[in-house]
């Protein structure tokens, strides 16, 4: 791990915390357990895109609409984080990462520390070609879903009420 990436991580953790997003930083082989600790059943998920990081038992993939509707927790991968905004990029995938991270009350994202970039220009440098070449789609998500339309700030307007992150090296 380089000093620069650690600095970016610390900033990311601090900014994400301002939005109520708690991070758990663990070695890859402890990620599954860390995810399990953050999961309230019933839970749905999408396969994590990295070797050596698996979903806990009880987090079902390939969800049905009924399972999505009934799930409390959703677990998906985040492929990028922006340190100074506390944001993560949640790619939409054919495995259903978008609905899995959206229809639940608790969203748990899993992120690699090496994917934390310092700022928005660096984020777009990383994403640009993925949009052009892979026709990528995704959400730059910062904290939980929120609205102030009903006269005061409320979390969980249409999306998750709480967001947690598990960060592996």
């Amino acid at each position: 791990m380089t000093a620069a990436s650690s600095e970016a991580y610390d900033q990311f953790a601090a900014t994400a915390a301002e939005y109520g997003v708690e991070l758990t930083r663990v070695p890859a082989d402890e990620a599954t357990e860390a995810i399990a600790d953050l999961t309230e059943d019933p839970a749905v998920g999408t396969p994590l895109p990295w070797d050596g990081v698996g979903l806990p038992e009880g987090v079902s993939t390939d969800p049905t609409p009924a399972a999505l509707d009934g799930a409390v927790t959703g677990v998906t991968g985040a492929t990028l984080a922006v340190a100074d905004y506390g944001s993560v990029f949640l790619p939409g995938t054919p495995a259903g990462a978008e609905p899995v991270s959206l229809f639940v009350d608790r969203h748990v994202f899993v992120l690699r520390e090496r994917d934390v970039v310092p700022d928005m220009p660096a984020a777009f440098d990383r994403l640009g070609d993925r949009f052009r070449e892979e026709r990528a789609s995704g959400i730059l998500a910062t904290g939980p879903s929120a609205t102030a339309d009903m006269g005061a700030l409320v979390q969980g307007a249409h999306g998750p009420k709480a967001v947690y992150g598990v960060v592996v090296p």
Binding site: D62, P63, T64, P65, A66, L68, D69, Y85, S87, G92, T93, P94, A95, G96, A97, E98, P99, L102, F103, M120, P121, A123, F124, D125, L127, G128, F131, R132, R135, A136, S137, G138, I139, L140, A141, T142, G143, P144, S145, A146, T147, A148, D149, M150, G151, A152, L153, V154, G156, A157, H158, G159, P160
Partner: protein, 747 residues
């Protein structure tokens, strides 16, 4: 505008002040303060604004080419692009898409462009159930109301009024009360509707030509559900939303939330390259995994012209197309903070920039309905993330409205009151443009210079006469000058006369020489501040001249009388030329006139003339600050006693020019303990607060300032602008001094 329509307008504004004003004020002022706080955290804010501006300038310049490129990209991605000429064309296409897919229900995320084309009404007429899923928009749909704000559409409604609405309409088992209960109720109701949706409609904040990616700025998550659940996605966007590359989104991602609601970033920035690769979620088939089978989605991008390509060809309206719909110009606007978009808005758009949108999309008549609510205070210019000169767009549209107006039946009165009515000055290049002339009220205020000259020559008789009951009633009836206002008192002895006749002489052989510009107010009404300025400058070793000078053209410009204003600017520039040739600096007391020299003259004068005048003109306290910084002795001025305190309201345009700080620094150096107001504008704003139809609004805006000034309990209340002085005088019962009157040495 006739007496009847002025009274109707006043009544409408009064109603909105009473019913919606409190909620609007609380919310917009919160957003506005949030903007100040959020952009202050951004080290490269100004660079991002420049970058954002450059991207939009380039994109609008190359728009046809970019639309072609985007079309090609989206189609290569598997989507369809339809460029609709107007609202009817767009609606027909969208209805055909719905019908072709056998759609019974469309769910929508928030989109002002879809409001513009009124697609909901159109689809409903064709048998499609349309549901708004943004909570604010849904409240409006349930209540059958229109948005009062472009970002927070139900901003005019309090929590209590939403609770009453839901409880009455849905009759829930337990009455809803808290924001949390209301939100969860709406979430459940809307989830049900989203589950049964066949089509999802969104807008698009930006579209990248190179990748076909669209950016959506949201916080609730409803746009995500709208796109994900149904298999058909229709995105509706104005053609101006296209930018060249997906990397161009970056400065806007950083600016849009900060500028609008004061959030560093909103919860969700959707970056979608449709048709998206996420599986659809078919709730009619609840037990089949969503990942079974291929993802099959239809995507239709409907790009809407509806007047935009003509705006692009219009040198004055083109800048409107740079607007990113962030709402900063609404939130920072003192008038908007009081009445909201139901008064300060047209068919669809609201706030300062709405004049450009409505003029381009709906036409001048629609823009004319609310354009007067822009007072040209300029606070929105520094708030705008793409630096649009919103007051200028308002001025141009006002000018066009004036030229199309039809108050010609009052010409016999106008001839007597305002001899240099717009279009009648021989020296003015634009001549008699068009058939119309400004209405009488505008011509009266626009010709303040004539009034001031006549008023001063006949003072005090003119003051007694103007403020006597019968005259006031006549002025109100004929010209709409509110009789609750006292008109400015003209001084018989002008500043220029005083200066010429005085015995004292200034410093001998000074290093610096200035022309103290005798603006109309300092010369004819607030003469004491002019005398104090002369004493102050001379005490600091400056040679001062106060020659007779023409008006700056600010009053006619405020009324949208551009040709008259240009004539004034040319005359003044000519009069100042010999002084500038001789290396004089120009010192200006009235901030709105300095704003003319520095900003507005760029639009009225040849570039060289404007640049020379702008570079050599200074606000009075800015100049004093510079003198003190360069070694002048503060003890030559009148300094504070122990603990002497000041409450100071800087002028709106002075703040936009970033010149408030200089006055604060000088007052502080003179030993005063200074508190400033954070009110964006005093509410008077030149002639605005004198107008019968806007008097109550102006006083409502002013109360915000009045409360702040009263709370300080300061020994002195100071204001830099003339209209602020008059307004604060009306609010507090005592006219404030200009800062220079406090620091000027005794006679």
């Amino acid at each position: 505008m006739s007496l009847d329509s002025r009274e109707a307008k006043a009544a409408r504004i009064r109603h909105l002040l009473e019913t919606e004003g409190d909620a609007i004020a609380e919310n917009t002022r919160g957003f506005n303060q949030g903007r100040y706080d959020s952009v202050a955290d951004l080290a490269d804010y100004e660079e991002l604004r420049d970058e954002a501006r450059a991207i939009k300038e380039d994109a609008i310049e190359r728009l046809p080419e970019l639309v072609a490129e985007l079309t090609e990209t989206v189609e290569a991605n598997g989507g369809t692009v339809y460029v609709a000429e107007d609202a009817a064309d767009a609606n027909r296409y969208i209805a055909d898409v719905c019908e072709g897919g056998g759609a019974d229900r469309a769910v929508k995320s928030k989109s002002m462009t879809s409001e513009e084309i009124e697609v909901n009404e159109h689809l409903e007429a064709r048998g499609v159930d349309v549901v708004e899923t943004d909570l604010g928009e849904w409240v409006l749909q349930v209540a059958d109301e229109t948005p009062s704000h472009i970002v927070a559409p139900a901003i005019h409604r309090s929590r209590e009024s939403i609770a009453d609405l839901f409880n009455e309409r849905f009759d829930p088992e337990d009455p809803l009360e808290t924001a949390e209960e209301l939100t969860m109720f709406a979430r459940e109701q809307l989830l049900d509707r989203i589950k049964g949706a066949d089509v999802g409609m969104t807008g698009a904040n930006f579209l990248a030509a190179d990748s076909g990616t669209m950016m959506l700025v949201t916080s609730e998550g409803n746009a995500r559900k709208t796109v994900t659940v149904p298999d058909t996605h229709v995105a509706v966007a104005g053609v101006e939303k296209v930018v060249p590359g997906v990397e161009d989104f970056q400065p806007f991602v950083e600016l849009i939330g900060r500028s609008g609601t004061g959030q560093d970033i909103t919860s969700y920035i959707s970056l979608l390259t449709p048709p998206v690769q996420s599986p659809t979620v078919d709730f009619d088939d609840p037990d089949t995994p969503i990942t079974d089978g291929e993802v099959e989605r239809d995507f239709h991008l409907v790009l809407i012209d509806n007047g935009r390509m003509a705006m692009r060809e219009d040198d004055e309206l083109r800048e409107t197309l740079y607007c990113i719909r962030c709402s900063a110009c609404s939130n920072t606007c003192a008038n908007f903070q009081s009445v909201g978009g139901h008064a300060f808005g047209g068919e669809t758009y609201s706030g300062g920039i709405a004049t450009g949108w409505e003029a381009g999309i709906e036409g001048l008549d629609t823009a004319a309905e609310f354009n007067d609510l822009c007072t040209g205070c300029s606070r929105c210019v520094e708030a705008c993330p793409v630096n649009i000169d919103i007051p200028w767009i308002n001025t141009v549209v006002r000018d066009r409205v004036n030229r199309g107006g039809d108050d010609g039946n009052l010409d016999f009165l106008v001839d007597g009151l305002s001899p240099d009515a717009e279009g009648e000055e021989g020296s003015v290049g634009e001549g008699r443009g068009g058939d119309g002339t400004p209405d009488l009220q505008k011509r009266l205020f626009g010709n303040f210079e004539t009034l001031a000259k006549v008023g001063s020559a006949t003072a005090p008789l003119s003051n007694w006469a103007a403020n006597a009951g019968p005259s006031k009633r006549l002025l109100e009836r004929v010209a709409g000058v509110d009789s609750r206002r006292d008109l400015p008192a003209f001084q018989r002895r002008t500043l220029v006369d005083w200066f010429r006749q005085r015995d004292a002489s200034g410093p001998t052989d000074p290093d610096r020489r200035v022309v103290l510009y005798p603006d109309l107010y300092t010369n004819y009404t607030l003469v004491e501040r002019g005398k104090a300025a002369v004493r102050t400058l001379e005490a600091l070793g400056v040679g001062v001249e106060v020659p007779a000078m023409p008006g700056s053209g600010r009053p006619p410009l405020s009324q949208g009388m551009i040709a008259t204003a240009r004539g004034k600017a040319e005359s003044l520039c000519e009069a100042l030329d010999p002084y500038l040739d001789a290396n004089y600096d120009v010192v200006v007391v009235e901030p709105s006139d300095l704003a003319m020299f520095r900003e507005d003259y760029a639009k009225l004068l040849p570039g060289d003339d404007h640049e020379r005048l702008a570079a050599n003109s200074y606000e009075l306290l800015e100049y004093v600050y510079g003198l003190l910084e360069h070694g002048a002795d503060v003890d030559a001025l009148s300094t504070a006693g122990d603990g002497e305190s000041v409450a100071y309201h800087s002028h709106c345009q002075q703040r936009t020019m970033r010149l408030e700080e200089h006055t604060l620094a000088v007052l502080t150096e003179c030993g005063y303990d200074v508190t400033t107001s954070d009110a964006e504008c005093c509410g008077m704003a030149g002639s605005f607060g004198y107008k019968e139809q806007y008097y109550e609004l102006a006083m409502d805006v002013g109360e915000n300032l009045g409360d702040q000034l009263r709370e300080t309990g300061a020994d002195h209340v100071l204001a830099s602008g003339t209209s602020c002085t008059e307004q604060i005088g009306d609010l507090l019962g005592d006219e404030p001094l200009h800062p220079v009157e406090l620091i000027a040495p005794e006679h």
